[in-house]
Amino acid sequence: MCGIVGLLVKTPALREKLGELMVPMLIGMTERGPDSAGLAVFGTPLADSQRKISLYSGLTEDGADFNWLGLTHELKAHLGVNASITPKGNHAILGFDIAPTVVKRWIKEHHPKLHILSTGRSIDLYKDIGTPAEVAARYGFDKLTGSHLVGHTRMATESAVTPDRAHPFTAGEDFCLVHNGSLSNPNGIRRMLEPRGITFETDNDTEAACRFLEWRLREGDDLETALQKGFEELDGFFTFLMGTPDKLALIRDPFACKPAVVAETDDYVAIASEFRSLAHLPGVKHATVFEPAPEEMYVWNA
């Protein structure tokens, strides 16, 4: 199973209500994915020189009591960087203006159990185990703002129920992917990517798809070309929903084994595994509702 949701608002005024509109979408997919939930939200990008990373402390000994402010003091002392921190229990967004690889390497060295969820100028990422309602309340998803988001509710089949194996997965900067389905060749994809210096953090099949597509984008493919290569290389069942700073993209495997439905109005594009997650959206009764075809690319611009 698993449920996917995506929302892109076209009307700028709705950016303030992005989280509020999305929470019922995510909770609506509880029956498809009750064990973990997560989402990636994209907002106005930071300046060129700035980066932010989303961090998860639930795997550290201190858990939600992690000393986030202390982390910024350590970064100042060790790297001389003035970092900002926006903590929320076991989650925090760390902002800084040096190369993210330096900060991430330092974190991995000094706080190896601190999990880095995402890196970029636009993306904030939250994911944890628990029902969608619990995870949404834990991080205040209803207060989130931004132009578009990608969300997921998980019913694990291919790897264990842990926070780092929840979706969305990220690779590189400002790219994320959620998956409903199961891949049959994730290990082949890993064996292809690992000699190229691409490292994996979990044994999850979705991570292979995420790193494959981000690798293609980094090699210079545009999103459409990367997705086409995904159709050629990724074998199995999938509905993938992906986010970049200015796009939402959706593809389904040639057998359309996993569902997806889209509702579009002048104000928004909303995507979910099933219509019941879209039924509450304003004006949905007059929306254009359609089912994305298998092996087609759907790309919406923020």
């Binding site: 057998f255 569902p259 439905v261 009764k285 359609f290 075809a293």
Partner: protein, 229 residues
């Protein structure tokens, strides 16, 4: 005959289905309107009496499944498995239908005015299906009996491993499945298509359809075929 309304925004689905399975059989209520279906699964499944049910909006999985005698109309779209295993009666979807529409239907008529997803009419066992739009790949796979009228196009592998079901297609067929073949339209075929279109309320020229049926080459195991069909 009385009319009843169930608002699924205010009443649980079980209340609707319990009425349809019990109270409806008393024959006093002839028409039930279902408001705010909002994609709920299993709306009006397992009906067993000649009642009319109108679902105003989008239905989730298995709407009208196992239907017997009733007429179920969905004004919006239907999720996976609409009218699956229908025995008799009619299920009419005004919008599109997702995968597996009319799967293994033994009887009755399924009408989908819009497109149908993949595997429409898979393992059809005697029911009739009329699709106003196009059908996805692998439709009518292993269909044993019954008829399918497709007014639009068909995807890959249409009618793969057909038994005695007959398909009529007006538009383009991306590919036929193993053992399916085009056949001449007889007067009886044209009359059958005209009758099904009429029952579905769709206006097409019955002579514009092509007939697809089984070559029956797979009926007996051929050890020399080397898995090539």
């Amino acid at each position: 005959m009385e009319r009843l309304t169930f608002d699924l925004a205010a009443q649980p689905l079980r209340e609707l289905n319990t009425f349809l399975h019990t109270g409806a059989k008393e024959g006093k209520v002839g028409h039930v309107t279902v408001l705010n279906p909002d994609g709920a699964h299993n709306i009006a499944v397992g009906l067993d009496c000649p009642i009319e049910v109108e679902v105003v909006g989008h239905a989730g999985y298995y709407a009208g499944g196992m239907n017997k005698s009733a007429t179920v109309t969905i004004t919006g779209s239907a999720g996976t498995g609409v009218a699956e295993n229908m025995m008799s009666g009619k299920v009419h979807v005004k919008g599109f239908a997702s995968n597996g529409a009319g799967a293994s239907a033994h009887g009755g008529l399924l009408v989908i005015e819009g497109d149908a997803g993949l595997r429409c009419g898979i393992s059809l066992k005697g029911g009739d299906i009329v699709v106003g739009g196009s059908v996805g790949s692998f439709s009518a796979f292993m269909a044993q009996a019954g008829r399918m009228v497709i007014c639009g196009d068909a995807g890959d592998a249409l009618g793969d491993s057909l038994y005695e079901a007959v398909l009529y297609v007006k538009g383009k067929v991306k590919s036929l499945g193993a053992d399916a073949q085009y056949e001449e339209m007889t007067e009886a075929d044209i009359a059958a298509v005209a009758s099904l279109l009429d029952q579905a309320g769709l206006d097409h020229d019955p002579k514009a359809f092509r007939r697809i049926a089984s070559q029956r080459a797979l009926y007996h195991w051929n050890a020399d075929a080397n898995q090539e069909y």
